[in-house]
């Protein structure tokens, strides 16, 4: 064999080898080159709800990266198209119209919160899209849309299920409480929470001795707490947003609120920065929550997710622990992804049908939706703050500081009753 032929064979071998390696590498790369699946949403990245909205976005990006590492959805990479709704409900319809008509997204999910979800509903309904939603209270009560799926575990009757556990817990105590004060912010979520609490109070035979709302821009809560104290209620149920929750807890401590059970629907007491600042003022308060690091709630994958979140949230000015919203922001995309993979299509009718009949395994545990798109069974946790020390963030990362009292299935300790300050 001449040197030329030898050289040619050698060269051909090398080319063949290189091609084989290139083809092997091109497998996943080719999948990545496939047209991406675009998921569109609006999110509160500035404005009043931005703290939660940004934390949710971090969780969603973790999910997207996890999915893309595993080869994407239906072999296609996942891409997000999102816009800041600036916590302004009026911006939401325009954003979803743009997502659907200009960006041509394949799937949509909701922004965070009742006020931002409701304005998207008419657009989503017109296009008959499945709409996994993030923490809206009783949004579908008005729309009755059969492709709405709410990841917040409020339960099938969200307005009343939201606070039912608080009342069941109160009424199991001795001596049985007989009177209640209800106070809530003049805004969508808080008003819904208060309406549910009012219904529950009537159902359980409690006498409502104070029932008032306050404007969200209230600066000083001591006159409100004093007015509540003057009615001497056994239970005080509060529906409030983070700044008000902080003001209410501080005022309750300053006034020395004497009641047997205090808390209920206070948003903000789940956020690490507020928990750290309020410290021991929180002790004894019984409030709703959706996930806490108690041994009864160690669902598969949740701790790995939170470790990733903690890393990603560093220096981003968002909740550093991310117990409240982020696991659910990850989970509502898990639900969507599991359905897409199961029906092997983006057909909205098939996806909706699958979502209605399936029990999903997610980082927040098993999720099963009822007819109205809410969780089939409520899993609103009522936790009591215990033995909280001043100025210590890390204490909230572990168990023992927010003991789960209700529901029984997830209970991690007994109530300290009555609440006294």
């Amino acid at each position: 064999m001449s040197d030329t032929i030898k050289w040619m064979l050698h060269f051909a071998g090398r080319v063949l080898g290189a091609l084989t390696i290139a083809l092997a590498l091109a497998g996943p790369a080719a999948a990545q080159e496939k047209k991406p699946i675009k998921i569109g949403f609006s999110m509160a990245l500035t404005g009043g709800l931005a703290g939660a909205g940004k934390a949710a976005l971090i969780a969603m990006e973790i999910w997207r990266d996890d999915v893309n590492k595993k080869g994407g959805l239906l072999g296609r990479p996942v891409e997000f198209v999102y816009y800041d709704d600036a916590t302004q409900p009026a911006k939401v319809p325009g954003i979803y119209s743009k997502l659907l008509d200009v960006d041509k997204v394949d799937l949509v999910v909701s922004s965070y919160g009742t006020n931002e979800i409701a304005p998207a509903m008419p657009i989503v309904m017109r296009k008959k899209l499945v709409f996994p939603s993030l923490f809206g209270l009783a949004v579908n009560d008005e729309f009755n849309y059969d492709r709405y799926f709410q990841i917040m575990p409020a339960g099938p009757r969200p307005k009343t299920d939201w606070s039912r556990g608080f009342f069941e817990l109160a009424l199991a105590q001795k001596p049985r409480p007989t009177t209640i004060a209800i106070v809530a912010a003049d805004a969508e979520f808080a008003l819904n929470a208060a309406a549910g609490a009012r219904e529950n109070a009537k159902k359980f035979g409690l006498k409502i001795v104070y029932d008032r709302t306050y404007p969200p821009a209230t600066t000083d809560f001591t006159p409100i707490v004093r007015a509540i104290q003057a009615t001497n209620p056994d239970i005080v149920y509060v529906g409030s947003y983070p700044p008000d929750s902080t003001g209410m807890v501080k005022a309750a401590n300053e006034v020395g609120l004497k009641t047997k059970l205090f808390g209920g629907g206070m948003v903000g007491l789940q956020f690490a920065a507020i928990q750290k600042n309020l410290g021991p003022m929180l002790n004894g308060i019984v409030n709703y929550d959706f996930w806490v690091p108690e041994p009864t709630l160690r669902f598969p994958g949740v701790e790995e997710f939170l470790a990733k979140y903690k890393e990603a949230a560093k220096d981003k000015g968002v909740d550093p622990l991310g117990h409240y919203l982020p696991p659910y922001a990850y989970a509502y995309l898990e639900v969507l992804a599991q359905s897409v993979e199961a029906v092997k299509s983006l057909d909205q009718a098939k996806l909706a049908a699958h979502m209605h009949k399936t029990t999903f395994d997610t980082v927040v545990g098993k999720v099963k939706f009822g007819k109205n798109g809410e969780w089939e069974r409520s899993r609103v946790l009522f936790v009591q703050f215990r033995d909280v020390k001043p100025d210590n963030l890390e204490q909230f990362a572990g168990p023992g500081k927010r003991v789960v009292l209700h529901p029984k299935e997830w209970k991690s300790g007994d109530i300290v009753y009555p609440y006294k300050k």
């Binding site: 008032r212 409100i224 007015a227 003057a230 003001g247 968002v318």
Partner: protein, 291 residues
């Protein structure tokens, strides 16, 4: 549900709250009331003051009030610089009414977005020994979280009032508010006087911001809640009158507190702004305004 205890506590809480409102409004009484500059960004400067108080409190453990006082001179120079831009771009050419308003809207958004980009959107709070403590005097409980802002605001108001009424520059500021041309004819430079006054107004926001974060948590957009209230206080007080502004702040604070105690807190803004309308119907120039 009426009781003497509730009334006494409501009154005291209202006065303390009014003191805090005065601290937030005093800078606007100078810019809007005396200089005729619609500084819609005023509450955003207050929030910037809150963030500086938070940063230095969490890193160095300094008291927020002390931080506010230390940072006020920096705010003074920032304010003076902003006025220079405003003057050169709008006031000099007589475009201050609408374009100036848009300018301060822009300043407000820039402050908000800068805070979001640098510090994120989480709620910020400070830690001091007196937050959570209460002094009991008879049936009245006085939370130090509200008393400290009241005392600081009272001192700030008294200081600004004395400065404006007793010093040469203070009188020049009052003069530029009344008759700019006359001041110019007397050999003073109205632009420099206004620049100084604007700087002084912005300096007060450093202290007001420190007081705000003592009372409750702060995030970049929370200042917007105060825009309506502080403008109402300045108008009710008589557009530029410092004692009038202080009394108007007290009226709003006491009205809010008593309504929250006896009628239900959701009525508080309606009653407070109803009082504003009623006062303006009787005295269109406000409580202490010149007729």
């Amino acid at each position: 549900m009426f009781s003497f205890d509730l009334l006494a506590n409501g009154l005291v809480a209202g006065i303390l709250l009014g003191g805090f409102y005065a601290a937030v409004a005093i800078g606007l009484a100078i810019t809007f009331g005396q200089l005729d500059i619609v500084n819609i960004a005023h509450p955003a400067f207050v929030i910037a003051g809150s963030y500086i108080a938070w940063i230095l409190n969490s890193r160095l453990g300094l008291d927020p009030v002390l931080i506010g006082v230390l940072v006020a001179p920096v705010f003074f120079f920032v304010g003076a610089a902003i006025y220079r831009v405003y003057y050169a771009a709008f006031e000099r050419t007589g475009q201050e009414s609408l374009s100036g308003l848009a300018f301060f809207f822009g300043v407000m958004f820039i402050i908000e977005v800068a805070l979001i980009l640098v510090y994120g959107v989480d709620y910020r709070l400070v830690t001091t020994g007196y937050i959570g403590a209460t002094i009991e005097i008879g049936v009245v409980g006085i939370p130090l979280r509200m008393l400290v802002p009241f005392l600081v605001a009272s001192a700030l108001t008294a200081g600004i009032y004395l400065y404006l009424s007793r010093t040469f520059m203070g009188r020049a500021i009052l003069a530029v508010a009344q008759d700019r041309l006359a001041l110019q004819l007397m050999g003073a430079d109205p632009v420099r006087v206004k620049q100084f006054a604007f700087g002084l107004a912005i300096a007060t926001t450093a202290i007001a911001g420190a007081l705000l974060i003592i009372i409750g948590p702060v995030e970049p957009s929370v200042g917007r809640q105060y825009i309506g209230r502080v403008f109402a206080i300045v108008v009710l007080g008589g557009m530029g009158s410092i004692p009038g502004m202080f009394i108007a702040a007290m009226i709003l604070g006491v009205a809010e507190s008593l309504v929250a105690s006896f009628m239900g807190p959701s009525w508080a803004p309606a009653i407070a702004f109803g009082l504003l309308l009623l006062t303006l119907a009787v005295r269109p120039s406000g409580l202490f305004g010149r007729q």
